[in-house]
Amino acid sequence: MSITIRNLSSVYNPGTPFEVRALDNINLSIGEGEFVGLIGPTGSGKSTLVQHFNGLIRPSQGEVVVDGRSLTDKATDLREVRQRVGLVFQYPEHQLFEETVFADVAFGPKNQGVPEAELKERVNEALTLVGLDPSAICDRSPFELSGGQMRRVAIAGILAMRPKVLVLDEPTAGLDPQGRDELLDQLQQLHSRAGMTVILVSHSMEDIARVATRLVVLHRGQIVADGSPRQVFTQAKMLMDVGLGVPQVTELMLALREKGYPVPEVALTVEEACAIILGLHRGGEGQ
């Protein structure tokens, strides 16, 4: 299961005074089992790009190939592609509509033609994956849940379709720190345990640094950096220039280096930075 994008450009309202070039000649290949963080400032084209992954937006130029099949090809069944590339929109809780959580989560698989008997199993599995207790929540109305729960139910609605690739557009926006950490942990587990390919769209460096194995930076519709988080964060100046910045711990490392301390350029998490600084401290005491 791989996604390959060749020379993709996307233009909104072509030929009118409101023409906007959202994506400009994007080339990107995402392999199976990757955890890609797609990052960029507001208006950089992230959301437009991910909607190309499952054919919700047709490319103005170029092509998108999912699993060897081009989405511009008329013979490609887009509904089948949408099942394999699950896309969780921004604020997915705004698309909940059914009377019960069960019915809402079952909406996707039902559309796929999953038999009734299997639905329960699918829904239970999906709800468990996002850390909810199926027996406690299934019969409740999705509208009486808390914001964080609603978001998980909405994500479960996509997971119940058993996608091979999970794309999430700003899944942590508006969640409290605890909810955010839990969600990111669950995504990491989906990736490591279930072997799912995950593409996480965000503009939070902290979130992405924690979980992604690869980072793609988008700026004004173009890819300006692509590599492991460590590689990308060494380009701190470029990231600041496009309005993103680096995680605060990396900033701390940079400040320490400027003061002449022998620390590495990049630390991805607070724990890592803590270990480095403690090591430095102990080393210093030893002298």
Binding site: Y12, R79, R82, G86, H94, Q95, F97, F107, I158, M161
Partner: protein
């Protein structure tokens, strides 16, 4: 690909012509007067005169003919139906064509063409109003026109505010509907196939979230307005005070002249 992009309501065509700069009250009153004249006078000649009038105003406003006629497309069915009904049912004059029980007589042709003409003029003239007046100016003008009614308990300001808000949120709701539609498409929803009942049912995943979000937005807007101490129309001052200028009086004068000519053309020619 935006699924709902083709919906155009309250289409304002920005410009800086004399017509654009007229006081919205002038344009509202004259458009209303135009409609009354349209129903008062009969005959092709005055209608040709009125049509020429609309064309001249459109020329001055620099609104392309194509955009003017765009407003007709949702109504082409009604216009065609009006024409056909009168064509086949109005009796009188010479028989032009007959097939079984279907018969076209010359009066029917004239009546059908005349009423279709009236409808087209009605739509084109009123769309000229919305094309050259921004929605905000329009509701502003309406509020001022209705404000004398406040003495008799007419909530002029509230009505205008409601209209402003409604107009303001049309594009927002269209965008929202578009987004929800995509989200449901990503979950394998199917909005296009099946019979009438199946299709109506398939709209539920779109309509329920849309209503929920509309209510949420309304709630938030009400809160935000109250937070800025909005208490309705009393004692509110405005940034742009509407003021009649010389061009408005000229517009009234010329329009009165033109409408008078239309009336006499209908009477004596």
């Amino acid at each position: 690909m935006s699924i709902l992009k083709n919906v155009t309501i309250g289409q304002y065509y920005p410009g800086d012509s004399v017509v654009h700069r007229l006081d919205p009250r002038t344009k509202l009153v004259l458009s209303f007067a135009f409609i009354i004249v349209l129903f008062l006078v009969n005959g092709f000649l005055p209608y040709l005169w009125l049509a020429a009038l609309v064309m001249v105003v459109a020329q001055i406003a620099r609104v392309p003919l194509k955009i003017m006629l765009r407003g007709l497309s949702p109504l082409k069915f009604i216009i065609a139906l009006t024409f056909l009904l009168h064509l086949f049912t109005t009796r009188g004059g010479t028989v032009l064509w007959q097939l079984g029980f279907l018969r076209i007589e010359s009066n029917g042709l004239a009546q059908g063409a005349f009423l279709a003409f009236r409808l087209i003029l009605l739509v084109v003239a009123t769309s000229l109003l919305t094309l050259t007046t921004s929605p905000i100016a329009l509701t502003d003008g309406l509020e001022r026109i209705l404000s004398p009614g406040a003495r008799f308990g007419l909530p002029a300001h509230e009505l205008a505010m409601m209209m402003t808000i409604a107009l303001r949120f049309i594009p927002t709701l269209i965008e929202e509907a578009d987004k929800i539609m995509r989200a449901q498409l990503a979950r394998g929803a199917d909005f296009e196939s099946g019979g009438l009942i199946k299709r109506a049912k398939s709209l539920l995943p779109l309509l329920v979230p849309l209503f929920v979000s509309a209510f949420r937005r309304a709630d938030e807007l009400a809160m935000a307005m109250e937070a800025r101490a909005y208490r309705g129309g009393k004692h509110r001052t405005r940034l742009k005070v509407l003021k009649y200028t010389a061009k408005d009086f000229w517009a009234y004068f010329l329009a009165a002249l033109a409408f008078g000519i239309a009336y006499f053309l209908g009477r004596w020619v």
